[in-house]
Symmetry: C2
Subunit: 497 residues, 2 copies
């Protein structure tokens, strides 16, 4: 391995992710305003990134981010160091056209779709000449991360690289800094081999070999780890990749990677504290007035194709059609927060959600009863209030790396909440025993599970919720991250590296 080791940095633990724990907005007066970021990844990493030697490398995602990053230039990479609970955030400025192609086109419109099995295959995807330019942008964008990490890392530092946006970084970074301990963590599912092979052969191969340059390749669920191993087994023989299922290791180019599973859970104490603050209590009072003594079915999702909102609403309609005893006795509160409205598939999907919601109310609403309330504006304290009040939670994704909502609700529920849960959410691994598990394509089965959930005895519901909460908090984010770092260190010893 030819390596040009740059002057080593000082960080001993590095995190790399596309979206960082902070972002910027431009205020009305033109000044930059610092915001905390959102999303499962940030929630997971924030509590542990407190050491002074921790650097979090992320991308500038907006013009405001780029302006903030440019305010602290440092060599060829612009950087803005912002202290967030001890971790230094280094925000990378990437040429906007390159970033757009890498992030929107390759990461979110190709790789996300591949891992969630979302393509309308007769018509999409097309891998044609324009795709090659987009793919090159993805390679470049990954290189910017690899270069920044190589410059910032102390000798033998631990680097944990997050998600499908940065799948090539382990290989690029290994070339620059063979001394580092490198982990890659996927927060998404991993595609089944029969779906992964839709990718152009060289692209599918480069992504796998890029990740296999890490010492540890980790997933949220054993099923995603298994799918990854199967994809590695399907690599051309000429690549000389050897998969050992018994030890869950893969050897590629003389380097051995461990494939492991770290199921991210909830920090119960922090969530309960947040869920009882005044803003949540105020929303809770409002929701109680709205719902009255009716049963409350809740769902909370980004309006994301994989979240399967339309079939979930259709299941509610079938519930009301088949079981008129619930008429006037139940309210379905569906939070569907806007997402990815730059993509026509997502705009069409949002329109389909709205239309079906309207149809359901037209079919069933009475003067004193609105059966379905669709909320599309994001309001985190209101979501937490709904978590506390819900009698039934519906989490029915087609495919989901984990789904943290399914883990948060049992922790916050005031009186117990029955969970209707897709078998294809990673969360089912630990919640399956006490949730009502459904095939997400089966609208009738989902309706039947909603009915069973509504009818569940209060005692059983509470007992299940307690067990669900215990399972959901088994591996809180601090532990989850510490386990990954420990594994990186032990792996280095285990394999004589």
């Amino acid at each position: 391995m030819t390596a040009k080791v740059p002057t080593a940095g000082t960080a001993t633990v590095l995190v790399a992710s596309n979206r960082g724990p902070v972002s910027f907005a431009t205020a009305a007066d033109g000044s930059l305003v610092l915001r905390r970021g959102g999303g499962g990844l940030v929630s997971g990493l924030r509590p542990v990134a407190r050491s002074g030697a921790t650097v979090w490398v992320c991308a500038a995602m907006s013009d405001a981010d780029r302006h903030a990053a440019a305010a602290a230039p440092d060599g060829h990479l612009h950087r803005a160091g912002h202290d967030t609970g001890g971790a230094t955030v280094q925000m990378l400025t990437i040429e906007p056209a390159t970033f757009h192609l890498a992030y929107n086109t390759i990461a979110n419109s190709v790789l996300w779709f591949i891992h969630h099995h979302l393509f309308d295959t007769p018509n999409q995807p097309w891998f044609d000449r324009p795709f090659r330019r987009e793919w090159q942008a993805y390679v470049t964008y990954n290189e910017v991360f690899a270069n920044a990490l190589a410059a910032a890392a102390a000798p033998r530092a631990a680097v944990v690289i997050q998600d499908y946006h940065l799948a090539l970084v382990p290989g690029q970074l290994r070339q620059l800094r063979p001394d580092l301990r490198i982990g890659h963590f996927s927060h998404t599912p991993w595609a089944a081999p029969s779906y992964y092979r839709v990718l152009p052969d060289d692209v599918g191969r480069e992504l796998l070999l890029g990740m296999l340059a890490a010492d540890c390749v980790s997933f949220l669920s054993p099923r995603w780890a298994d799918a990854f191993l199967l994809c590695c087994e399907a690599l051309p023989r000429a690549d000389g990749v050897r998969v050992d299922r018994a030890t869950a290791t893969v050897t590629a180019a003389g380097h051995r990677s461990r494939v492991s599973v770290h199921p991210l859970g909830i920090d119960g104490e922090a969530l309960r504290a947040r869920g009882h603050q005044a803003d949540v209590e105020a929303r809770l009072a409002g929701l109680r007035d709205l719902v009255g003594d009716r049963k409350l079915i809740v769902r909370v999702d980004r309006t994301e194709l994989a979240k399967n909102i339309v079939r979930g609403l259709a299941a509610y309609r079938e519930l009301l059609r088949i079981h008129p005893r619930w008429h006037g006795k139940v309210v379905h509160l569906a939070f569907a927060y806007p997402s990815r409205h730059d993509l026509p598939e997502y705009r069409d999907y949002m329109a389909a959600v709205r239309q079906l919601a309207d149809e359901i109310n037209e079919e069933f609403a009475a003067s004193s009863w609105t059966p379905l309330i669709l909320e599309v504006s994001d309001d985190y304290p209101r979501s937490l209030a709904a978590y506390r009040l819900a009698d039934v939670l519906v989490v029915n994704p087609l495919r989901d790396g984990m789904n943290l909502v399914a883990k948060e609700v049992p922790v916050l529920s005031d009186r117990g909440c029955a969970i209707v849960l897709s078998r294809d959410a990673g969360a089912v691994d630990v919640l399956g025993a006490d949730a009502l598990v459904v095939n997400p394509y089966d609208v009738s089965a989902t309706a039947a599970a909603m009915n069973a959930a509504l009818a569940m005895d209060a005692g059983e519901r509470l007992a299940r919720t307690r067990r669900l909460a215990a399972a959901a908090t088994a591996v809180p984010p601090q532990q989850w991250f510490a386990d990954q770092i420990a594994e990186l260190n032990s792996n280095a010893v285990d394999i004589g590296w």
Copy 2:
């Protein structure tokens, strides 16, 4: 097993398929006109169904078919015996609404889509209450076949049941007639387990258990047989199904099935005779005038989502964009015969094919050169003429049980023809070594393969074509069918039945 054995019939070999070897049309004067059917299945079975003891059971598919069938009533099943080369055709009259739901909705809009991985998964399929009525129609339609076969079969007769339309028939027939030797043959791919599980759990299970009641469950390619075995392994433990990969057998409900592969090939002699009849020669002269001394790229497909015509045309466009040396030197003749125009997906797809074809001609056509000729009217002798004249054949399906066109062209080619072939067509098993194999989603790779095919040395092309023709005719239909019957007989001995 509780069995009510009806009075045994006299047929010793029975074939069951949705579409039979004959059909009827209504002439202008109202009389019924007999037509020979088309399609790979009919081509495959026709040459061997000549014994007096062979009965072919099929569905009446149209009003004309139903009138013909009704003209020969016999008990509760109407039958029309028509002698076709020795085989008696028994056409079953099924209540039209039931037939429509079973054939168009379940078989062609659900099961075909599942096995070819064709769904726009965020939006389709939905398994809701109407689906349950459609599924019941499929069960009933299969029962009509099972009852007819049970009545017609002699003791210990061999029954070969065709395709995804009739997946429940083996189980239903085994209940009625445990003495029979039952085979099931799939002409389609079999879905990967990750795709098969989209089906409602009970439906996926009933289809598998229905097929497993056969003594032999057969496929066109080892990959489809492997996918079937994997789906069987994924059945719930409670079903007690045991899969033995080493012997390719599956034991379910105490009954053992052999899973085997019979790759249907071409009757070379018959095809060459047909391909040199006067009607073909006349079309060939016309095509020669049209093409002149240009290279000819041909594709011949039904306009079927799985055939991937749009990406194939896009690859031709990319070829012309990247390699201007072919401008004026090549003609692409694309036969896209209408199919399933009752489904909106197919109408939209046909529109997309026409639009892209127009765009290509607008971009490249010159006064003396039309780069693309799209023909949508079905003309079998013209197709055969194109087979003979083609320099390059494009067969790029997303997924295809076999694809007989890829096997027919090398047999008929006058001067050698290079084949661009999808790796996901079953035909690649025997043609892969001498075809140019492509990932069907990769438009650029397909364009590159077209370029290599056009540039291929004439000597190499002819040598490859000869090897392709030998491979394509290795298992002609007569042999293919005889092998299945022999396997049914030997299996009965092997497993002590």
